[in-house]
Amino acid sequence: MAGERAPVVRFIGVSRHFGSLRAVDDVSLDIADGEFFSMLGPSGSGKTTCLRLIAGFDRPTSGRILLHGLDAERLPPFERDVNTVFQDYALFPHMTVEENVAYGLAIRNVPRAERRRRAGEMLELVRLPEVASRRPGQLSGGQRQRVALARALVNRPRVLLLDEPLGALDLKLRQQMQIELKAIQERLAITFVYVTHDQEEALAMSDRLAVFREGRVDQVGTPAEVYERPATPFVADFVGTSNLIEGRLAERLAGSPAPCTIRPEKIRIVAAAAPVAGGDGAVDGTIRDVVYLGSHTRYRVEVGEGVVLVVVELNRATTAVDAHAARGRPVRLAWAREHLRPVGGR
């Protein structure tokens, strides 16, 4: 996807330092026109600063940002064809919902009748047509979120920036909004740059994502690439859970002391001393801990030398009683060899 179209946002060696803090440190990346691009990372990893650099609220200390192929250095926020959905929504409290949504049009002197029509369309798009005359203070969190989205979309930007837009919503609403956001993005065919610290959210929604750590980008790729082939131990750990295998155990299992990882759901628990198919990897251990999670169970299995591997199994036929009874049981862990992957260190 990335290579097919010209990048709509391009970072070339961009840094933003606040005193001695390197909030963004030499970041280069391309965001393709029309893609859903996520910036994923823990808080303080520089993802929100990157978003503010694209919006123009902040300037890079060094490096260049190209918007639609043009240098954005001298462009103030109000001249960028980019709109933002703020984390705190930033709705104007003294205006009605309709006035909020139509604000971008009023600034551009769009005639009143057209303003009303387009604001109505946007509220229709976010499925909130009935609150047009209310004030933001009278809305629920979920409704405010939709109004903020409608307001940012009304100018038909080519790039929409979203700063943890679902962070303040509860789980059910968040999952519903994830689906709606993705649907809106596909329908309008505009670029979404989506900042989140929620790896599930990033995996579920993105065409591609960048994983941030301490102001740098550890990996850029499709969700499958980032999940299946993490470039660094940090990515392996941050995106989903992962077992990091190093040193003597790595030598025994992979034939080399270089660190490697394996996802908990790729490991099977089989009976102790059970035969393992040729080409599969295996190690013996003892179940130390069992966490029953309803749809699945998480086991912590000690495999010697103080190393504990996390294994997740779906509870197809296992009951809570079965799962807990497994504590202390000696078992054999097995996996298809391609799931044990080397990771680059950094």
Partner: protein
């Protein structure tokens, strides 16, 4: 996390002694007003006899026909208007500067701005008078305005600063993000957002200036504002109820703006920008 008293505690009844004490304090504070109002209508024109020998509305007409009352009232209104205007501009700019930028001496500036309201008026008055004498500035309408502005700026500054602190930075960013220039953002977002704070601060400033006497005494030349006129009347027993009529008028012109300011800045509840 705020401490929330249990619902039952909220409805708990105060003991009788406490109620009595509260009533006593309120009476002590407000009974003098009632006496002023009462003696504005007495038929006795020289002394305070109780009960008044009779009631009359004549003094309203007498006060209405006294040119010195009108002159003092006119001056007080013009001084209050000018001091309020100066306070609105200077107080807002100072609040914006202290809120938005970090500069050397920022805390000191904030302290110096608030100082005049904490200082006794007599200190401010003497300080201004000696400074003006030293600089050979003749006392005039404008020296009174400057004297009043010293403490009027504070109330506008405090009101606007409090509002700015409750204003998320993202509001202005959202406006510019949607295409508004800084000027448009100021006019369409910031000013309406600050409007009630400005009106409230302005009304308080006006009320403070309108009944100010101490600083005025030190900064005025021949000018007689309404409070100074009232003070001068105390030594003249003639037509004493006229003074009371004027005093009632002052109480009303001062109380109404303060009440309105209070109603305007009352928290209407319901955070906007995602908080709470």
């Amino acid at each position: 996390m705020r401490f929330e008293p249990a619902a039952s505690q909220g409805r708990e009844r105060a003991p009788a002694a406490l109620k009595l004490a509260v009533a006593g304090v309120l009476l002590f504070l407000h009974l003098p007003f009632a006496i002023i109002v009462l003696y504005a209508f007495t038929t006795d024109d020289a002394s305070y006899r109780f009960p008044p020998p009779g009631l009359t509305l004549d003094w309203l007409q007498v006060a209405w026909n006294r040119p010195d009352v009108w002159q003092a009232l006119g001056l007080s209104l013009r001084v209050a208007a000018a001091a309020t205007a100066a306070a609105l501009v200077l107080g807002t700019l100072a609040a914006a500067a202290v809120h938005k930028s970090r500069f050397f001496g920022r805390e000191a500036l904030s302290f110096l701005l608030i100082l005049p309201i904490a200082l006794p008026g007599i200190v401010t008055g003497i300080a201004l008078r000696s400074a003006m004498s030293l600089a050979s500035i003749p006392f005039s309408f404008w020296t009174v305005v400057v004297g009043h502005a010293t403490f009027c700026v504070v109330v506008v500054y405090n009101n606007v600063l409090a509002r700015l602190r409750r204003t998320p930075a993202s509001l202005a960013e959202a406006s510019m993000d949607l295409g508004a220039t800084p000027q448009q953002t100021f006019r369409r977002i910031l000013l309406p957002h600050l409007a009630t704070a400005l009106v409230a601060g302005g009304m308080l400033a006006f009320a403070l200036s309108f009944d100010e006497i101490i600083v005025t005494t030190f900064t005025a030349g021949q000018q007689q504002t309404l409070p100074i006129w009232i003070y001068a009347q105390l030594s003249k027993p003639r037509q004493r109820p006229v003074t009371n009529v004027v005093a009632v008028f002052v109480v009303l012109t001062t109380a109404v703006p303060i009440l309105l300011a209070h109603l305007l800045t009352r928290d209407k509840g319901g955070g906007i920008a995602g908080e709470r």
